[in-house]
């Protein structure tokens, strides 16, 4: 494949799709989504080709050709070039991005009714932005992609979101933009300093890594970059945009946001902060580690009392993603690999959880936990997926969530055993908040169902309901789990009308489309839980290189 600009084609294919949709407004109804799907699938295929051809041990520095390098001198005088390339840190995240994008597009197939063309244009633009961020090795084009990504996401939230969407979109936009501007200052400062030191103007990331920056400079510029990425992660206390954005965003945008965009933060730290500012990293690491441990517990605690399913998962993201910053700044191999595994696992698991919430939101038009109950007997396939991803999310060994979190925890122990205690304590709270939600939504009595007479925890109203329904629960023990339909609809006023969206008895189980989006994530979370070695093989050399700077 020598000479074939794989990364460019992969990154710009979605943009081509977006332009096609844009310039053919008269095309048929199904045209936009078809184009979107084909171009996203194209990127996915190319990313898989990339993984297969990728050599983890290939050099990755300014003096050698990097894997899949594309380098075109562009504005030579001021040191800007079109420079693309990937290493073991970018590769897994790129595949995650292309896969999640396809899933998001399939999900949107029939859910988006309003402004379909614009919607798919935004999704495709977003994909190009995200892929661009992962493949750019020049700060200038990196920054362009970074900002490109921001706008479609804000639009997705602000236009296709739910009730409070404009506030959420603005908050998301301003929060991230503020971070980006700080990063811009950091980029300019680094550029200038490097120029003053070496006389060379460059925005080549690999070149800039070789610069010698004074400790004071590193301290401040590190902070500028760090805040931009910390907002994205999001690390406590820069996280408050996330719950709002997640709650208001349409399902597909929530999935992309959780599965991919949050990883931009972790990726940025690994690509820029750690290799460019070793001194700054060392100075800031204790503070960031402290914040991360706080965030791990803080996110879990706040998730404990959320009445809204999406908010609960959003706060759980704060908790999970803090493992990423923690793992990164422990500056050990287990920490870094753990951080990477957490990023990927969080991509599968939280992405899937948002899809699952989307499924019931489509049917019930609410996300309030209290509105649901007994869905296991109404939509069992959905409940099965929910069970799987709940356990994956709370770090059950054998599923993907565990490997990363355990590696980070073990690295934390080496740093400080007491911090490891606090970090690992999250396993209790993660189980608590997820199972709290799970039990209310999936278990228990479905709307309109007669209570189980053998339940030892019936409420007084349920006992009355049972008495009214006639004591027909004693027909041998075989009947104890039989969902008894309400006869005549006399018990629940809602059932008589039949137009109550919360009446889950009329819901259909997972549609084919919904199953197609969930299945690959389920496979991924199981496979990489049992056999994470392929990912480890890809990332290990990259992290070894990184750690070499610190020894």
């Amino acid at each position: 494949m020598n000479g074939f600009p794989l990364l460019s084609v992969m990154a710009f294919l979605p943009l081509v799709g977006a332009l096609l949709i844009f310039f053919l407004p008269k095309a048929s109804q199904g045209f936009p989504k078809m184009v979107a799907l084909i171009s996203a699938l194209g990127s996915l295929v190319l990313s898989i080709v990339m993984v297969i051809q990728f050599d983890p041990n290939a050099p990755f520095d300014a003096n050698n050709a990097v894997p899949f390098q594309e380098k075109i001198e562009w504005a030579n005088g001021i040191g800007i070039s079109y420079f693309l390339g990937v290493d073991g840190i970018a590769v897994p995240l790129i595949v995650l991005t292309t896969a999640i994008s396809v899933i998001a597009i399939i999900w949107s197939w029939d859910t988006v009714k309003m402004r379909q063309r614009e919607y798919f244009i935004a999704l495709l633009l977003l994909e190009t932005g995200m892929l661009g961020v992962f493949v750019s090795l020049d700060l200038f084009i990196f920054y362009i992609f970074w900002e490109i990504m921001l706008i479609p996401m804000a639009l997705l939230i602000g236009i296709w979101g739910s009730t409070n969407r404009v506030y959420a979109a603005m908050k998301f936009f301003i929060y991230t933009l503020l971070g980006s501007l700080l990063m811009l200052i950091g980029i300019v400062a680094t550029y200038q300093t490097y120029f003053q030191e070496t006389g060379e103007r460059t925005l080549n990331v690999l070149r800039l890594q070789e610069g010698n920056y004074s400790p004071t400079f590193q301290f401040w510029v590190f902070a500028a970059f760090f805040i931009a990425f910390a907002v994205k992660v999001p690390l406590f206390p820069f996280h408050t945009w996330l719950p709002d954005a997640h709650v208001e965003a349409p399902t597909a945008a929530s999935v992309i946001l959780a599965a991919v965009m949050l990883k931009m933060g972790g990726y940025g730290l690994l690509r820029f902060n750690l290799p460019m500012f070793e001194e700054g990293t060392r100075q800031w690491a204790p503070i960031i580690i402290g914040l991360s441990v706080i965030a791990i517990l803080y996110g879990a605690f706040v998730a404990l009392v959320q009445p809204d399913m999406k908010k609960l998962v959003a706060y759980s993201s704060v908790s999970h993603m803090a493992f990423v910053t923690l793992g990164i700044f422990l500056l050990s191999l287990q920490g870094l690999e753990g951080a990477m595994m957490v990023m990927l696992a969080h991509g599968f698991n939280t992405g899937a959880l948002f899809l699952l919430i989307g499924v019931v939101y489509e049917r019930a038009h609410t996300r309030q936990i209290s509105a649901f109950g007994g869905l296991a007997s109404r939509i069992p396939a959905w409940a099965a997926y929910f069970t799987l991803f709940m356990f994956a999310s709370i770090g059950l060994p054998g599923l993907s969530g565990f490997v990363g979190e355990f590696l980070v925890a073990i690295a934390t122990w080496h740093y400080n055993p007491w911090l490891a205690l606090f970090t690992f304590a999250v396993v209790i709270f993660a189980a608590w908040y997820m199972m709290w939600m799970f039990q209310r939504v999936v278990f228990g009595r479905a709307r309109g169902e007669i209570p189980d007479p053998h339940d030892n925890a019936l409420t007084p109203e349920e006992v009355e309901m049972l008495a009214a329904a006639g004591d027909d629960g004693h027909g041998g023990h075989g009947s104890h789990a039989m969902p008894l339909p309400v006869s005549g609809g006399s018990h629940d006023a809602h059932d008589a009308h039949g137009d109550d969206p919360l009446d889950s008895s009329k819901w259909h189980d997972l549609s084919k489309k919904e199953a197609i989006t969930l299945f690959p994530l389920a496979v991924a979370t199981i496979v990489f839980g049992i056999y994470p070695a392929p990912i480890m093989r890809i990332v290990e050399p990259a992290f070894q290189r990184l750690l070499a700077l610190y020894n």
Binding site: T240, E337, S377, W413, F429
Partner: protein, 672 residues
């Protein structure tokens, strides 16, 4: 056998996969025909492993693949079977298979039939992997996996809120233990550089005793969760919300013994950490005692059996704590059979009584369900420790080991506690038997017609009754029989003489303990073994202990007879005489309430505070405040935009003047 070892766990796993994917659409009520044969073949293969180990004595291992390769942290999926594993394999597959058979009758007609027969083999798979793991992290993986199965099976009748609550509680309380276990593994990795059993154990003599004590205590915290020891015992009684075969298999015979297994597996670490062992012994004895007091006053047939499980697990932990590894495993095995039998018998009663679980509403069932009665009676005799039933032998050797455990305070006091508990055990067991099966029916004979269970259920009862009677003779003469000889290679000659070794450690506790340990471990310390090792336990002492424990058990039995058959002592009056104590026991020592007040509510309050105050008010308040600040400033500034050209022209002119003024003022020397 080496190359086929993986088949033992694989077959139940395949049964799970087949049933979970095809169960709802194709297999349905044939699901048991997938699951039960798979477990049966695993049982046959386990027998083959046992036979090979019996013949060669060489542990078997099989490397499958590398799970986590992360720098120097490498974890392999390797199966390892020594004599201890083989014993566990037999227990798990035997009880597992019989429970499968029993469930075909018990779960007949349940709409979740296929689901039940998916989860059950998944559990068997996880449990088999747990005992086959060759390193701590792999053990931890399946430690959590059995917790998952437990969650799924407790909440099997998920429409019951009580079942969901119980499942959640079980999982979360277990996670507290898992926190300890996980941290123990981390510590272990950084101390030993590996989590592989054999590699860790080989290095134990070189490690400071304080470190080993810390690791051992963290591991034991994990065991407390899984094996329901105080203070993490609260989940097990609630777990009885699950179907009764689940209670028999998971919450009596196998999963709850995983903690005991893990500590026994780690005996090298624990042996080197005498203080940790003391904690294990005290916790075990306390759990045994506390659970027995609660079991005496409960009225739910399954809860009584559940508390007796807790109590027996306490005995096992006590045995571990005094270094009596083989008696602990022996009791684990006998208990697995007779407790599974008790639960399955209880299930048969519940089945025959149409879901009635309150023993106060039973009575006289003997004539309705004779097979259930006789098998239940055998299991009760075994659990009460009446000679010559299985429980007698194992419990007796635990009490004996405790008595000779060197530290006079711990050894003697705990022996007394164990004997009192034995008395209680016999009492609650026979209170249960008499209230359920004898006397006059206390249910409405007109409407409730109890019936004997179908053969699918009674045959497993009969099959389990056989080992409940005879398996105690597997170690006859006590502590020198075939069972002890079989397991000796695992626990080593020191292991055999463990009580003595602990004895020597206790007596020299003011010396550096590491030295004391080496004395015991190097094998040169024969004198340590001689000091009080059971080789030297005289037959007279053995018989004395046996007689005393038999007297304790028999008096419990007689008291129950006097109260519930003869009516010589009125239980109601007894309760009325000690109302405080009675309700304290009846309310399960009120641990649930205490935990709720001490942990659950404060956590929720803190969570509310963090959300409403820190997140919404402070952080978001700041963010929105800044935004509003900008808004307000802009509101003022917008008055500048008047839209009148004259105003703008004036502003431009003034601006020019200011700029020029600044220029001259700062950079020009025109006015200087």
């Amino acid at each position: 056998m080496e190359q086929y070892l993986y088949l033992i766990p694989l077959l139940p796993l395949l049964a799970f996969v087949v049933n979970i994917f095809l169960g709802r659409s194709i297999i349905r009520d044939k699901a048991a025909w997938i699951a039960a044969p798979a477990v049966f073949v695993s049982w046959l293969l386990s027998l083959a492993v046992l036979r090979q180990l019996y013949q060669t004595g060489e542990p078997i291992s099989q490397h499958l693949f590398r799970w986590i390769p992360s720098g120097d942290f490498n974890v392999d999926v390797t199966l390892y079977a020594d004599q201890l594993t083989a014993t566990m394999l037999i227990v798990v597959t035997t009880v597992g298979f019989l429970v499968h058979v029993y469930s075909t009758g018990y779960m007949k007609g349940d709409p979740g039939y296929y689901r039940f027969f998916s989860y059950l083999p998944l559990f068997v798979f996880s449990m088999l992997m747990l005992v086959l793991a060759d390193n701590y992290l792999l053990l931890f993986v399946f430690w959590e996996a059995v917790g998952l199965c437990s969650y799924l099976l407790i909440s099997f009748w998920f429409r019951r809120r009580a079942a969901g609550n119980a499942a959640k509680k079980a999982f979360i309380v277990n996670r507290v233990g898992d926190l300890g276990f996980g941290l123990g593994i981390m510590w272990m990795f950084w101390v030993f550089g590996t989590v592989n059993f054999q590699e860790v154990f080989a290095q134990v003599p070189e490690i400071a005793v304080g470190t080993l004590t810390g690791i051992a205590l963290l591991l034991f915290l994990g065991a407390c969760g899984k094996s329901a020891q105080f203070p993490l015992h609260v989940w097990l009684p609630d777990a009885m919300e699950g179907p009764t075969p689940v209670s028999a298999l998971i919450h009596a015979a196998t999963m709850v013994t995983a903690g005991i297994y893990m500590v026994a597996r780690s005996h090298v670490i624990f042996q080197a950490a005498p203080n940790a062992l003391a904690v294990v012994a005290i916790i075990g004895a306390f759990t045994a005692f506390m659970a027995a007091t609660i079991g005496m006053v409960q009225n739910d047939i399954k809860r009584v059996v559940a508390y007796s499980t807790l109590s027996q697990l306490g005995y096992m932990a006590l045995a571990l704590g005094v270094g009596a590894w083989i008696p602990a495993i022996f009791h684990l095995m006998t208990h697995a059979f007779f407790k599974a039998l008790l639960f399955l018998g209880a299930g048969s009663v519940i089945h025959g009584m149409h879901e009635e679980q309150n023993i106060q509403k039973m009575g006289g069932l003997r004539k309705y369900m004779p097979i259930t009665f006789w098998t239940f009676l055998i299991a009760s005799l075994a659990n009460a420790g009446i000679v010559p039933f299985a429980g007698f032998w194992s419990k007796d050797s635990i009490i004996l080991s405790t008595w000779v455990a060197g530290n006079p305070v711990i050894g003697k006091v705990l022996t007394v506690v164990a004997l009192i508990t034995a008395f209680f055990s016999a009492f609650y067991m026979f209170r249960l038997v008499f209230l359920t099966f004898t006397g006059k029916p206390r249910f409405d004979v007109e409407h409730v017609h109890p019936h004997e269970s179908p053969p699918a259920m009674t045959i497993p009862l009969i099959l389990l009754a056989i080992p409940s009677i005879f398996i105690g003779f597997l170690d006859f003469p006590p502590e020198a029989g075939p069972f002890t000889k079989f397991l000796e290679p695992v626990f080593g000659s020191e292991g055999e003489a463990a009580p003595a070794e602990v004895a020597s450690l206790y007596t020299v506790s003011d010396q550096p303990v590491a030295v004391a340990y080496e004395e015991g471990a190097t094998g040169e310390g024969e004198h340590a073994a001689e000091a009080g090792g059971h080789h030297n336990i005289s037959t007279a002492l053995k018989i004395q202990v046996a007689v005393v424990s038999t007297i304790a058990a028999l008096s419990g039995l007689i008291l129950a007879w006097l109260m519930y058959v003869k009516g010589a002592i009125s239980p109601i009056k007894m309760g009325a005489r000690f109302p405080g104590l009675y309700s304290f026991f009846y309310d399960k020592w009120r641990w649930d309430e205490a935990y709720n007040a001490a942990f659950v509510q404060p956590c929720k309050n803190l969570a509310m505070f963090l959300w409403q105050i820190v997140d919404v008010r402070i952080i978001d308040g700041t963010v929105n405040g800044i935004a509003h600040g900008f808004g307000a400033v802009s509101q003022r500034l917008r008055h500048v935009q008047t839209g009148l050209v004259a105003n703008y022209a004036l502003a431009i002119a003034l601006g020019m003047v200011v700029l020029i003024g600044v220029y001259f003022g700062l950079y020009s020397n025109l006015f200087r």
